[in-house]
Amino acid sequence: MGSLKTLAEILPGCRSEVPPGRAVLEVRDVHLRFGGIRALQGVSFDVLQEELFAIIGPNGAGKSSMFNCLSSVYRPQDGSIEFLGHELTRKTPAEVARTGVARMFQNIALFDTLSVLDNLMLGRHLHIGYGTFAALLWRGRARRVELRERAIVEEIVSFLGLGPYRKTPVGSLPYGVKKRVELGRALAMEPKLLLMDEPVAGMNGAETEDMALAILDIREELAIPIVLVEHDMGLVMDLADRILVLDFGEPVATGTPAEIQRDPNVIRAYLGEEHGVAEPAPVDGDVLAVVER
């Protein structure tokens, strides 16, 4: 029999006391400059509890810059990012992780020579605490904690269908599987907020569908807020509750998928000036999906 536990039972640390509909993450007027290049100019948004919030925009719009600010890889020159009462802009990436923010990278950032299990166990690092001496003896606390953590990792392995690859070095796995391992490691951290940077970039149809299903299951069982940066418009329009559109580092619009598809500024950002509001609005509003394909 597969696992009968829900993800919320397996990963109790994902719970935060914020009620649904209230802001978990508050981004206020963030400015980021690299020398003369203005990567982000006055970006503000809220991510609500249990919400799937997507950030989209043409290439170079500042999506990944925004993302890197959220995980404190970049430090914005101006503005604030507050997560559950913590100001993230003044923290190191490790401290951000400790507040409950887990990140899945666009360019896979796993340990290639380690097995899938070891990579996932590393995700549990924050929750493992025992001394070197205990670890050397493999007795008492060390053994107990490792077994407990391994059981949690096994549940994640089962959830993501990684069973056959447990002992395989990550470097030799296909791309789609690596992405799942990447997601698994982020989940293993028991995040209160999950950041996903282009989770389906470069994936084929079946892999994209698997990832979409995994995201839906995570939402249903874990009910944590997710921030998603993605190029696949079909996925974003299907999954997101709200979308922020960036263009040249500036916020263009924020709204539900339906609102975004009809927004004249968004259409202009994606199709260029000459296609602006003068054009008749598309009937089904699916213009973005068409553009992306």
Binding site: M1, G2, L4, T6, A151, G163, P164, L216, D217, E221
Partner: protein, 311 residues
Amino acid sequence: MTPAVATIASRIRDRARSDPQGVALREKSLGIWQETTWARYGDLVERTAHGLLALGVGPRDPVALQCENRPEWLIADAGAVAARAVTAELDPGARVLIAEGQEQVDKALAGKASLTGLEWIVYLEPRGVRDYSEPSLLWWPELLARGEGHRAEHPGLLDELAAEVRDDDPVTPTLTAGDVNAALRDQALHPDAGPGDFVLCHLPLSQTAARLTSGWLNAHAGVQLHFGEPAAGLAQTLREVEPSLFVGTPGVWEGLVAGDGTRPRRLYARALRKRLGMRKCRSAVSVAPLAPELAQRYTRLGITVRTVEAI
């Protein structure tokens, strides 16, 4: 009174009484091989049978079963037989469908208009289905719980039903209880199978040959049946289980050595057998003839693959 005809369900019940702590099934779950004893297997079959009876399944009613090879398949199958019902894959007249998970549930709900008799959908995997509000849905443990209640109210009912079984009772859409008994009696696949044997449940259970060599053989001869992880390949499961009896289709036999370009020599045969997970295999069978080169290849490894028609 004529003596009752043995069924898969009655055989499991007998083993649960004579060898309660013996291992009936092994399943890899969360990375660990979990054992199911005959006592537990028998109890699960009983609860399933009572559960089906509680849902209104009666003699000769079809029970639809759509799931992967997993212990619940056998439990549901034997439970249906114990309730004197007929296991089918998808019968439009079935009152109960036992489905793997969300995918099968969605399909059944979408096709509900043509499944006129369908009243209950029992699902095994709760992921994605938990929040469905469809009243006809029942989670597997809930079926077992209903079965437990029904058993408490009707103790001895299954024994009464078992005593009524006749040779011409259908147990599948095409086979009767008598056919199954004849197939088990005459089977030449593994004639000397016994409780010490390890067997892999890997062929699709919708095929009669697969059922004969896994679930039925398990109940009949007491072999220990193994279910690998769903996503793991056959090759990996074979290496872990090292079965003593193995049945494959020609495609399976071909697949096991596909991509292995080394021309086996007698010197390496032992190591190669171990790599295939065939070290302990004392009875290797194909249900249809192998190509001569393929058969020869296995012979060189020291594995004689016999061809036996299943039924």
